[in-house]
């Protein structure tokens, strides 16, 4: 079994159909296939081969336009994304409002592995508070599970994909089990300066957690922990782990990684899953609907072959939607299933994004040294004001973390742009001296904060607009609450405080929270829309992503999240997907499905 055509898939039978191949689809297919289930994966985009397609060491002068962002490649030319962005040609979405502040931007990719090929690899765990936010401050929703329920799966995912970081024992910032994390990379000089100066403001700076292998995975120890009692899976995983290389401390992760040193579904989940012989993959398969059996259970899915336009139907014992939160919502709405609660499409969330940069004289004209490291994110600032917030001193609920960076990174078109605010506008030999002086002296701080689900943020089917396949598209409603706007203002003010504490100058005047906050969807952490819960009347699935209305239909992507903690959601999505897959396996074993 392997990459197959739609026609071949039509003739086979499967235990499980998995719609989507990114973090959720990859994890789901991996767990199921390694444990013996026969899986068909349907991916809307094209096949993608990181080993052959990744521009590992190319410099910006080798790209058109020095690699800058364009409408064709919104994250820059070398970005791994295929046929993706906030606009996908022929596949529109709409907004209910003309007001940009009320609009939502939806990022999609059309490639095997989806967005995992280019993502930031930031892998933070939700903490205990993050599963019970309503109990803590009366806002939003509690999850039908606790941190303890998911903690073993966080460990498993981290061991499988390879995550660097450290255990700091901090409030609501969980430690991993011993022997799980890889060593954090050494800090850059700018990291250490931020740490030194932020400490004086009472702000902690600790190693980031990212899915990048700072050393090779322990292929002798880990497979047994991940697949106890399953010798075949252990052997396959041990062999595959030996094919993954450690980071070479060069080239940005967003390009993807041909040596498989970071996590992307295509380099970590899919190769061993394919090696089991239990996984078939059909690419260019755009799923339209889930079909229903007479007994009310899911029968399979209808998909359209992107190349031929032909419609195909496949069946299985279980259907899993892992198409990304909002694409799964769209499939549910177009199918008219699993929505007796009326909650499908409701409570969509993104992450609060705001930030500012500055220039630090102490970092000017430093002796030459290589600062590439593991790309960005050697350190970060976890949320630190839990007590002040609970005491009502901040004026907004829920926290944020700072992703920050600086240093002597590979020059791009922006490296020497706009120096006029520092040097007054020079040219000639003086400009060249200035370029050397200021290079590496810039820092940026990006606040990434929790959004509370609200009634004004939801997706529905547009009554008129269809995509090029004739499938009705989503129409978005969006509105930040004062909590998010207050948080964005706090991000800006705190970032400026840190920059000033470093003796630096910030690059523009501070803005109001309304101006500072990025548009919904811009941070690309959209979750919600098919929330899990303990009450079938108020939620779409149980804690395993199993739909209340259709017992053999599961959702394993971000759609089921009840809150969107400041911790970037991908690691949590993978942990939930593994847990859900274990549940599917036990239900199939017990013949309940």
């Amino acid at each position: 079994m392997a990459h197959i055509s739609s026609t071949q898939a039509d003739q086979n039978t499967y235990d499980v159909i998995v719609v989507g191949s990114g973090a959720a689809g990859g994890q789901t297919a991996y767990t199921l296939a390694m444990e013996g289930a026969r899986v068909l994966m349907l991916e809307a985009g094209r096949r993608y081969e990181p080993a052959a397609e990744t521009p590992m060491m190319q410099t910006n002068d080798q790209a058109p336009l020095r690699g800058v962002s364009t409408p064709d490649k919104p994250f820059g030319f070398w970005d791994a994304t295929v046929d993706g962005g906030w606009n996908v040609p022929g596949e529109p979405y709409t907004s209910a409002s003309d007001d940009p502040a009320r609009q939502f931007q939806w990022w999609r990719a059309r490639m095997l592995g989806g967005r995992t090929n280019h993502w930031g690899r930031i892998s933070l765990r939700n903490g205990p508070y993050d599963f019970k936010p309503h109990s803590r401050d009366g806002l939003g929703f509690d999850w039908p599970m606790s941190y303890e329920d998911l903690a073993p799966y966080y460990d498993k995912v981290e061991m499988l994909i390879g995550v660097y970081g450290s255990n700091e024992g901090m409030e609501n910032t969980p430690d991993s089990s011993a022997g799980v994390l890889l060593p954090a990379p050494k800090p850059r000089v700018s990291d250490l300066l931020v740490q030194q100066r932020a400490r004086k403001l009472g702000i902690p700076v600790i190693p980031m957690h990212r899915a990048v292998m700072t050393k090779r995975l322990d292929h002798q120890r880990l497979p047994g922990l991940l697949h106890p009692g399953n010798a075949k899976a252990q052997a396959i995983l041990a062999a595959d782990m030996q094919k993954r290389n450690a980071c070479i401390f060069a080239t940005p992760c967003g390009r993807g990684c041909s040596i498989r040193a970071n996590y992307q579904s295509t380099t970590v989940h899919l190769p061993p899953a394919l090696d089991t012989g239990n996984l078939d993959i059909v690419t260019d398969a755009m799923v339209r609907t889930v079909t229903r059996r007479k007994d009310g259970r899911a029968e399979g899915v209808v998909y359209i072959d992107r190349k031929s336009g032909a419609e195909h139907r496949v069946k299985a014992r279980i259907v899993v939607l892992a198409a990304s939160a909002l694409e799964s919502v769209r499939i549910l709405l177009n199918s008219g299933v699993a929505n007796s609660s009326g909650k499908v499409g409701k409570y969509i969330m993104d992450t609060v994004g705001a930030g500012i940069g500055g220039q630090v004289p102490l970092l000017e004209s430093l002796p030459l040294h290589n600062e590439d490291g593991v790309d960005f994110g050697h350190m970060y600032v976890p949320w630190w004001l839990y007590k002040e917030q609970l005491a009502g001193k901040l004026g907004f609920a829920r926290g944020y973390h700072f992703e920050f960076g600086g240093g002597r990174m590979m020059p791009n078109l922006g490296t020497t742009s706009g120096l006029e605010w520092l040097n007054g506008g020079t040219y000639g030999r003086k400009f060249k001296e200035d370029a050397r002086r200021y290079y590496g002296s810039f820092v940026y701080f990006s606040g990434r904060g929790e959004m509370i689900p609200n009634e004004d943020c939801y997706a529905e089917l547009d009554p008129a607009v269809k995509d090029k396949f004739g499938i009705p598209v989503l129409r978005f409603h969006w509105k930040w609450s004062p909590h998010e706007i207050g948080q964005a203002a706090h991000v800006e003010k705190t970032a400026i405080d840190i920059i000033e504490a470093m003796g630096g100058r910030y690059s523009r005047p501070p803005q109001s929270g309304e101006k500072a906050i990025k548009q919904g969807g811009v941070i690309i952490h959209e979750v919600g829309g098919a929330m899990m819960g303990s009450d079938p009347k108020k939620s779409v699935t149980n804690s395993y992503g199993q739909c209340w209305d259709m017992k053999n239909l599961f959702i394993t992507d971000g759609a089921t999240l009840c809150s969107n903690a400041d911790k970037n959601p991908t690691l949590t999505i993978m942990a939930l997907a593994w847990r859900a897959s274990d549940h599917m396996l036990s239900l199939m074993k017990r013949k309940e499905l």
């Binding site: 002068d61 336009l65 020095r66 490649k73 060069a250 080239t251 002796p367 590979m410 040219y427």
Partner: protein, 208 residues
């Protein structure tokens, strides 16, 4: 050289003599085709890309001479590295202003009139083409437009042009191998381990 060849050679030499300068009112570039597409949403990331590959370059020969002179005024040769025009920056600027994307189309509306202004100003002040001016003469023009904040009102448009042109020139230059070396970038080499900053760096930043 036969007679036919020598006539052709003389004609092209004469044409070159006439075209040594960009004239006021002359187009600085050929049009970008209205249906020109970009490199698409799935370009081959491991093939070799060259300026002029994904879309045609459009600057006229004369405009490229002005561009080269201005590039080299901003990034001249020094003991560290060559001048910008020697490492492909003119091709890069031509690629940029010829691109079909909105940001680049916007810059084209700044850069092309700016190049014409530079030549007109060179004629007005010194009666010669900008590339033919002395360094001091070129500098006299640049001094009036190199700071958007300090430029006199009559030079404010030209100063906006210069700021954008300088960003493109410098960005084009410092992304090349010689530019990266000059600015002090030593990365993009595979390493077995990452050691962090040397002690000397930490000392300079007050961290050791």
């Amino acid at each position: 050289m036969d007679r036919r060849t020598s006539i052709k050679w003389m004609m092209s030499a004469a044409a070159a003599m006439q075209s040594l300068q960009l004239q006021a009112g002359e187009a600085a570039a050929r049009d970008v085709a209205p249906n020109q597409s970009g490199y698409g949403t799935d370009p081959d990331l491991v093939k070799e890309w060259k300026a002029g590959g994904p879309w045609p370059l459009t600057l006229t020969d004369n405009a490229r001479l002005t561009t080269a002179a201005l590039c080299d005024l901003i990034i001249p040769a020094d003991e560290h590295s060559p001048a910008a025009s020697k490492v492909g920056v003119v091709d890069f600027i031509d690629e940029w202003i010829s691109a079909p994307y909105p940001q680049q189309r916007g810059d084209r509306e700044v850069i092309l009139p700016g190049l014409l202004w530079i030549e007109a100003e060179a004629q007005k002040r010194f009666g010669r083409a900008f590339p033919a001016l002395s360094g001091a003469q070129q500098g006299a023009i640049a001094d009036d437009i190199c700071s958007a904040a300090k430029a006199k009102p009559e030079f404010s448009t030209a100063a906006r042009f210069f700021a954008r042109f300088r960003d493109l020139t410098a960005g084009g230059f410092y992304t090349t191998p010689v530019g990266m070396k000059d600015i002090g970038y030593t990365g993009n080499v595979p390493l077995d381990r990452f050691d962090g900053p040397p002690l000397e760096v930490l000392k300079r930043a007050g961290l050791a």
